[in-house]
């Protein structure tokens, strides 16, 4: 009964995650847009804009023109009512659009957070206290408490397994449906995450995080953007934008005395419009949305970063340190040879191995089937009445029972224990394989040992392409392995890493990182073991596998929930995208100013010098229409670029010069040309509607 409930829960989680992923891909999620619209209005509170000087200036400007409009409307002041009113409305829209962009980004994050939070509902936990077991609410658990969980229970908090062996479904966190094995005393399989579900057996767990500090809590805080701290790059950009704002305040603020000297006048509304059009509102309005959306994209890739700074640093990485085993290679897992023992033939062991593996879904099992087929022993089928004997952590073997015979495969010592007679070449073959860095697997038919399967380290398919991509992005890869130099060199060449360190002890990683850093390089590394922790802390970007120990996760500044060590390529891309999007929109924003000058300056100066009408290169219909068109364009471009801000500028690994050329062409040259076209079109529309 209990099992059934947990299955249902699990299915529910999975479908929720699927829904979530779908919503992430589409910008047009109407509920989020609806909520963002409301939030955009709430964010009009000037206190909210204090950290954003550009938009603050826009809001103040909107306030000024609105006051003027009201004065004109009530007759206390002469002026072009319609024009002042229209400019005011569009200035408010400018602020609202910027707020909307931020609210959209936050809304998308919140949607994720809500899904995560739904798993966080308090569960009952069985806490061990003074030798007795008491039921407590999971939120009452503290670090150091010991709890027991049985099949079907939700794990009440983050912790380390101290006793028991069991399968746990982490689908809720990682989206991966296959349950993973948890047992004490290993670096990579001992840590569990709150909210995940134990699907077999039982575990005793020592809780490692206080309520509010768990993994899930941090993840929620992160995607909601609540704890978002500005990165150094963002701060530097803000300074530049503030400087531009001050410059344009000067440029526009001095216009009135200049014009007065020349005997003319210029309305405050026109000057406010000019100011708002010149200051970098496009990037100013989208800046925080870019940051929030970047973190959101990272979480979509199942990576949890402790800070935005870590993500941006990932974009700067020069050197990547990788363990060979489990990262570059599958780690002693694929069958490469059948070695018959005693008087048995290769055919006998191959057929037995094939039969025992037909229903085995593990990578090892699949590789055995493949190898047998390659060697020409295909065609075996499972006979009716075959019973499967699943792999169990205690027995360390699996197999089938058919016609009363048991065909087993597994660890050599475990299988030989079943055997009546152990031929001497078993020991010899197993030793040879172990010496070469592989794993021997013994196969026995009803207590008769047929031979050994050689499970060999194999380079993961596609890894070469990933390393090539890194090379194009300017990242040097270094493989670290305990293997001898020859084996290491072979694997290194096969995988296409730039460099390798052979016969390395775990503590060597630290030294390698320090050496690289001494040369000014930024180093990233992935790790999962407790002995990786110091190196993870020393590295500029340390990515811990979710399957790793609590110590490793604590030391790292990112955790990969999928435990995929090559995920760093994607993290690098997200980090770069965040910067690129900001840079591209800054360029676009400043480039826009050229056309806005040509729209607005002739409009406000034509009263003093009619000859300056020649500067009206866009042939805008009237001065008021020219100013209004520029203001409308300036507001609409923010909303038009929201999808780009949320998705990020496309990043492809390529030399820096090439990327710059491409982006300059699109956002620099495009930024100069686009508003000429846009402003002209809006002006034509205003003429068409007789609003000019």
């Amino acid at each position: 009964m209990r099992e059934q409930v947990s299955r249902e829960e699990e299915t529910a989680h999975k479908s929720e995650i699927a829904k979530l992923r779908k919503s992430r891909t589409s910008i047009w999620n109407w509920p989020i847009i609806g909520r963002a619209t409301i939030d955009a209005c709430k964010k009009l509170n000037p206190l909210h804009l204090l950290g954003n000087p550009v938009m603050l200036v826009v809001e103040l400007g909107a306030g000024v023109t609105t006051v003027l409009f009201v004065q004109e409307l009530l007759g206390g002041r002469a002026g072009p009512k319609f024009f002042t009113g229209a400019v005011s409305v569009w200035l408010w829209f400018t602020v609202l659009f910027a707020n909307f962009a931020e609210a959209m980004a936050e809304g998308r994050g919140k949607a994720q957070a809500n899904t995560l939070r739904s798993m966080k509902h308090d569960t009952m936990a069985k806490r061990e206290r003074d030798g007795r077991i008491e039921e407590v609410v999971s939120s009452d658990l503290r670090a150091g408490d010991i709890v027991r969980v049985d099949a079907g229970d939700a794990i009440p908090g983050d912790g380390d397994v101290i006793e028991g062996v069991a399968y746990v479904s982490e689908a809720a966190i990682t989206g991966e449906s296959a349950p993973v094995l948890k047992e004490p005393g290993t670096d990579i399989r001992s840590s569990v995450t709150g909210g995940t579900i134990i699907v077999s057996d039982w575990l005793r767990i020592r809780i490692s995080a206080n309520p509010g500090e768990t993994f899930l809590d941090r993840m929620i805080a992160l995607v909601e953007g609540a704890e978002r701290q500005k990165t150094p790059n963002e701060i530097a950009l803000n300074i530049l934008l503030a400087a531009f704002t001050i410059i344009f305040l000067l440029a526009v603020g001095t216009v009135r005395p200049f014009v007065a000297y020349l005997g003319g006048t210029v309305t405050t509304t026109a000057l406010v419009a000019l100011l708002v059009c010149l200051i970098p509102t496009t990037i100013g309005g989208l800046l925080s949305a870019i940051g929030i959306a970047g973190m959101d994209r990272l979480v979509q890739r199942n990576v949890l970063a402790m800070s935005g700074k870590a993500v941006e640093t990932a974009g700067d990485i020069d050197t990547l340190l990788l363990d060979k085993t489990g990262t570059i290679t599958f780690g002693n897992r694929l069958a490469s040879e059948f070695i018959p023992v005693g008087r048995h033939s290769e055919r006998e062991i191959a057929l037995a191995a094939l039969q025992s593996s037909l229903a085995d879904e593990t990578p090892e099992g699949k590789s055995i089937v493949e190898l047998a087929q390659r060697r020409g022993y295909a065609g075996a089928t499972l006979k009716a009445g075959t019973e499967l004997i699943p792999f169990r952590a205690e027995t360390r073997m699996s197999g089938i029972e058919v016609d009363g015979r048991r065909i087993m495969k597994g660890a050599v010592d475990a299988v030989t224990r079943l055997a009546v007679d152990v031929p001497p070449d078993v020991e010899r073959a197993a030793t040879r394989i172990a010496m070469e860095g592989g794993t021997p697997l013994a196969v026995a038919d009803d207590g008769e040992i047929l031979g050994i399967i050689y499970l060999k380290d194999t380079v993961k398919p596609g890894i070469r392409a990933k390393f090539e991509e890194m090379r194009r992005a300017g990242i040097r890869t270094i493989m670290i392995t305990g293997d001898n130099k020859l084996t290491a060199a072979t694997i290194a060449a096969e995988a296409g890493v730039d460099d390798f360190v052979a016969e390395a002890k775990p503590e060597d990683k630290m030294q390698i990182i320090r050496d690289e850093q001494a040369q000014g390089r930024l180093v990233a590394m992935t790790g999962d073991g407790t002995n990786d922790a110091p190196a993870l802390a020393q590295a500029d970007v340390g990515v811990a596998m979710n399957s790793g120990t609590a110590a490793a996760k604590e030391a790292a500044n990112m955790v990969d929930l999928d435990s995929d060590p090559t995920k760093l390529v994607e993290v690098v891309a997200v980090g770069k995208q965040m910067l690129m999007t900001r840079g591209a929109l800054t360029t676009f924003s400043i480039a826009n100013d050229v056309s806005k000058y040509f729209a607005i300056l002739p409009a406000i100066f034509v009263g003093i010098y009619p000859q300056l009408a020649k500067m009206n290169v866009m042939r805008l219909s009237t001065p008021q229409s020219a100013i209004l068109s520029a203001v409308i364009f300036n507001a609409l471009i923010i909303i038009a670029l929201v999808p780009l801000a949320l998705r990020g500028v496309t990043y492809r690994a390529a030399p820096a010069g090439q990327i710059l050329r491409g982006n300059l062409l699109i956002y620099g040259a495009g930024g100069i040309i686009a508003p000429f076209v846009g402003i002209k079109l809006i002006d034509l529309l205003l003429v068409l509607l007789h609003l000019n």
Binding site: L240, A243, L262, G315, T587, Y597, L660
Partner: protein, 580 residues
Amino acid sequence: MTVTVSGVVQIVLYFAVVLALTKPLGAYMQMVFEGRGRFAGRVFSPVERIIYRVFFVDDTAEMDWKRYAFSLLIFSALSMFAVYAILRAQGHLPLNPQGFPGASPHLAFNTAASFTTNTNWQSYAGESTMSYLSQMLALTVQNFLSAAVGIVVVIVLIRGFVRRTTTDLGNFWVDLTRAILWVLLPMSLVLALILVSQGVIQNFHGYTQLTTLEGAKQVLAMGPAASQVAIKQLGTNGGGFFNANSATPFENPTPFSNFIEAAAILLIPAGLTYTFGKMVGDTRQGWAIFAAMSVLFLAGAFFTYGAEQAGNPTLARLGVDQSYHTGQQASAGGNLEGKEVRFGIADSSIWAVATTDASNGSVNSMLDSYTPLGGLIPLFNMELGEVVFGGVGSGLYGMLVFAIISVFIAGLMIGRTPEYLGKKIGPKEMKLAAIYFLITSSMMLLLTAVAVSVRQGRAGPLNAGAHGFTEILYAFSSAAGNNGSAFAGLNANTSFYDTSLGISMLVARFLPIVAILALAGSLARKKKVPETAATLPTNSALFVGFLVGVVIIVGGLTFFPALALGPIAEHFLVHAGVLS
């Protein structure tokens, strides 16, 4: 826009000479400031040692940016006070054959500020105000010292890029001594002698009276001019010995003297780009900066030249032929008003553009008489921050600030924390860069706004309307840009203009210098990031183009409204046949 073959040849030849001298001079200056090599050890050290002993300088002591800035400011303050004192007391001092009285307090303040800031704005006429002692001891000495100050600041900034994880940036007194002793003095000596050979005067005689052919009496001013003219050109100072500056034959007698005086304007600033490349260990970095400057220089030179050669549209409307002719009815054509016929349009345009690209206030023609567009370029050059070669030292450090801003934007666009020459550009660098370019542009715009708003300011310009506005805008752009050239047409020796211009010169010189030194300090403390495929190449044509774009757009956007009301408005007015 009109061009002639001879005009193009002159501009190209001028640029070729600057280009040819850039590398040897740059390499020499690198040796001077890095103090290595046998030559430096054998020739430089013995002389320097004596100087250091006399002034109690420990030449091995390194300074951090704060001490460096403190020494520089104290030194400049003392310099300024000395000039002020000499000018005020001039009536009681020797070498004053004409018996000039001491300068008024506001003129003495303005001139002292002007010469210690390497501006050389002159609210006075040399031959009717300054004694020979004032010219030599106060003004010429400052021409050397203020130029040396500019050079050492850029050397410190370069050290900021070169050095890593240190606070040591060199020793101000050593750098200053070397800049004067091994760069400015020998070059000035050679140039002064060449100028004397061409007829530039150098004497202590009293003014000479002579009778002209028409029988009129005329007074000819005399004095030690050549020694001051040489450094005024080389040190991007520009303060003329005589009021007419390099338009008078006593300062600039022949086309040859004109050519080398013009070349001298850009020599050290151009050479420093090579010094920069050499010091950072990649001469292509230096050439990239040189290339960006060259693009802006050539564009400006051809634009102004083209505008002037095209002539005055008002005269054209009256049927005056202003086109270029050869043969029997040979005519230079174009707008020759305010230009020396000895030099013609091309050489006048080169001079006008080079002096405002650099921060050299000298003139050989009157900018007030240029066509609106021809005169726009000198104004625009100063408003860009005089970074096209620029003042000695100051031009390069200004351009490097633009390079930092460019690198920042470009760095973001390639998805990497921006870095320039291996140094990461973070919030602190951006803050200092922002301060740097905000100070200059705000001084230019705000003080112009004040001047056009108050009675004393409005009284200044000779002309009404757009042209008068340009005269005021030009004065403050020149002062805050530490240029010193005058558009003319502005009566600036009033207490309002002397004081406001003097303040803007001081603020716009020393605050940016402190920002640059702080920037150097911040950069030197950083580690150096090695270059990878992901590093933005800052020695490529693409980056040069981007840098040029940033200089024009950032400079242009700030001043576009002001320029539209000044020269641009005037241009359209003149073409529409409206005269004011």
